[in-house]
C-alpha cells in the first residue's frame, strides 16, 4: 500500500487507481484526501521512505484469518515534499508510528483503517 502511495505522491495523483487495490473504506479516504491536499498545494514528493511493520493476525474461532493488525514505524527522512522543484523547508524528520488494520476483500488483503502518528512517536 505504501509503495502505491509513494508512487502516487510523486505526482500528487489522488485519482491513482492503485490506491484502491491496497486500501478500502476509511483508509482509502485518508490516502485520497492526503494526496488531494498535496495536489491543491502544488506539492509532490521525491525519495523513498522505509518501514518496519509488525503484523498480528486475528483469527476467527475456526482458525481462519479475518483481520491483520499492523504496527509500523515510518522513516521519511529520505522522502521529502517538493514544491516548484525545491524541497519544502522545515519538514519534520522524526519517525512516525502507524497503526493499520487489514481485512480480506475477495482474498485480497486491504488496509481499511489507518492512523498515522506525529513525528517522533517511534
Amino acid at each position: 500500500m505504501w509503495q502505491a502511495y509513494v508512487t502516487a505522491s510523486r505526482t500528487a495523483d489522488y485519482q491513482a487507481a492503485s490506491l484502491a487495490q491496497y486500501a478500502a473504506g476509511g483508509a482509502l479516504s485518508v490516502l485520497t484526501h492526503g494526496l488531494y491536499q498535496n495536489h491543491q498545494d502544488g506539492i509532490v514528493t521525491r525519495g523513498q521512505p522505509t518501514f518496519d511493520p509488525a503484523v498480528k493476525i486475528v483469527t476467527a474461532s475456526g482458525g481462519s484469518p479475518v483481520q491483520a493488525n499492523v504496527t509500523d514505524c515510518a522513516d521519511s527522512s529520505r522522502w521529502l515534499d517538493y514544491k516548484s522543484g525545491r524541497p519544502v523547508g522545515g519538514q519534520p524528520q522524526g519517525r512516525r508510528k502507524i497503526i493499520a488494520k487489514l481485512q480480506p476483500f475477495d482474498g485480497v488483503w486491504k488496509v481499511t483503517y489507518l492512523n498515522v502518528g506525529k513525528e517522533g512517536t517511534c
Binding site: S29, V30, H33, Q37, D41, Q91, P92, K97, P104
Partner: protein
C-alpha cells in the same frame, strides 16, 4: 480618518491574536512549509478525513456484519498514535483545532487559516480550503450488510440473494465550516455500493438495494441489487464466502457567491460471511 485607522489597527490586532490561537494546518494557508510526505495523512493535523475514529467492534452485530470500516461510529482512538492534535480531542469528531467549536452540523473557527504574506489582517481562506475542513468532520455511517437469506443463514446456489444496506443510512450527510464572513457546506452523497461476493465476482449497485419483504417471492431476483451464487462455499475458510461492500460517497460543496465544486470521494466499507450450499436438484418427474 484617524478613527478608521485606529479601528483598523484594533481589528487587525484582534485578528492576529485570534490567529495565534487557531493554528489550522499550515499547508492549507500556503507558503508555510509542509508536514512532510506523511504530514498530509497524519491524523489530527491535516484536512484528511476518516482517521480519527476506529472501526466498529467486529462480530458484535447479530446481522452477521463484521463491522464497518468507515469514518462513522466506533471508539475513539485519540488523534493518532502519540497524539498530534493541536487542539482538543472530541469524542465524536476527533481532533478539533483549538478555538473551533463543533456540532453535528457545523465546525466554526474564529479566524482564517492564515494571514496574507506581508502582514495585515487574516483573510478568510479560499472556500475550497474551507470545504476541505468541512469534509474532514463529516461523519459517515458505517454500512451494515443485510441480505436475504440473511448473512448468518444458509444461502443456496441458484437461489437469488438480495443484498442491501440500511436505507436510513443511505442519504446525504452535510457539514458546514464557518469562519467570520464565510461559510461553506460540504455534502457527501452515497452513489454506489460495490459488493465483492467472495467468489471472485463483483456486483455494483447504484443505491442501497431493496430490502426483502415478507411476501416477496424468494425465487425472484432483487429489483435493484442481487446476486446468485453458482458454487458452494464449502471449500472456503470457515466454509463461507467473505462478502464485502464498499460505498462511494461523492463530495460536493457550496460556498459564498455561488462558489462550489467537487472534492475527491470518501469511502466506507463493511464485511460479512455468507455460507452457500449447493442446492440439490429435485426431480419431480418421477423418473429413476
Amino acid at each position: 480618518m484617524l478613527t478608521r485607522l485606529i479601528r483598523g489597527a484594533v481589528v487587525a490586532a484582534v485578528a492576529v491574536a485570534l490567529l495565534a490561537l487557531v493554528q489550522l494546518p499550515a499547508q492549507a494557508g500556503g507558503g508555510q512549509g509542509s508536514g512532510g510526505p506523511l504530514g498530509s495523512v497524519q491524523c489530527g493535523q491535516s484536512y484528511t478525513p476518516g482517521c480519527t475514529v476506529t472501526a466498529g467492534t467486529p462480530g458484535s452485530s447479530g446481522t452477521g456484519s463484521t463491522g464497518g470500516t468507515g469514518t462513522g461510529a466506533g471508539t475513539l482512538a485519540a488523534a493518532g498514535p502519540g497524539g498530534g492534535c493541536a487542539g482538543t480531542v472530541s469524542k465524536a469528531f476527533g481532533c478539533v483545532p483549538a478555538g473551533c467549536a463543533i456540532t453535528v452540523q457545523t465546525v466554526a473557527c474564529p479566524v482564517g487559516v492564515a494571514g496574507p504574506p506581508g502582514g495585515g489582517a487574516p483573510a478568510p481562506p479560499p472556500p475550497g480550503v474551507l470545504a476541505q475542513l468541512a469534509v474532514r468532520y463529516l461523519r459517515l455511517p458505517d454500512p451494515v450488510i443485510r441480505s436475504s437469506p440473511a448473512p448468518g443463514a444458509l444461502q443456496l446456489t441458484e437461489l437469488p440473494t438480495w443484498m442491501w444496506v440500511a436505507p436510513a443510512a443511505w442519504r446525504p450527510e452535510s457539514k458546514t465550516a464557518q469562519v467570520p464572513g464565510e461559510s461553506v457546506t460540504a455534502t457527501a452523497t452515497p452513489v454506489s455500493a460495490s459488493w465483492q461476493m467472495g467468489d471472485g465476482k463483483t456486483v455494483t449497485c447504484h443505491g442501497s438495494g431493496t430490502p426483502y419483504a415478507k411476501g416477496d417471492n424468494p425465487a425472484s431476483s432483487s429489483p435493484t441489487c442481487g446476486y446468485t451464487y453458482t458454487r458452494s462455499s464449502a471449500g472456503q475458510p470457515q466454509a463461507a464466502y467473505h462478502v464485502t461492500v464498499t460505498i462511494t460517497w461523492d463530495i460536493t460543496w457550496t460556498g459564498p457567491g455561488g462558489a462550489g465544486g467537487a472534492l475527491p470521494p470518501l469511502f466506507t466499507a463493511a464485511a460479512a460471511p455468507m455460507r452457500v450450499a449447493e442446492s440439490q436438484a429435485v426431480n419431480t418427474a418421477g423418473g429413476a
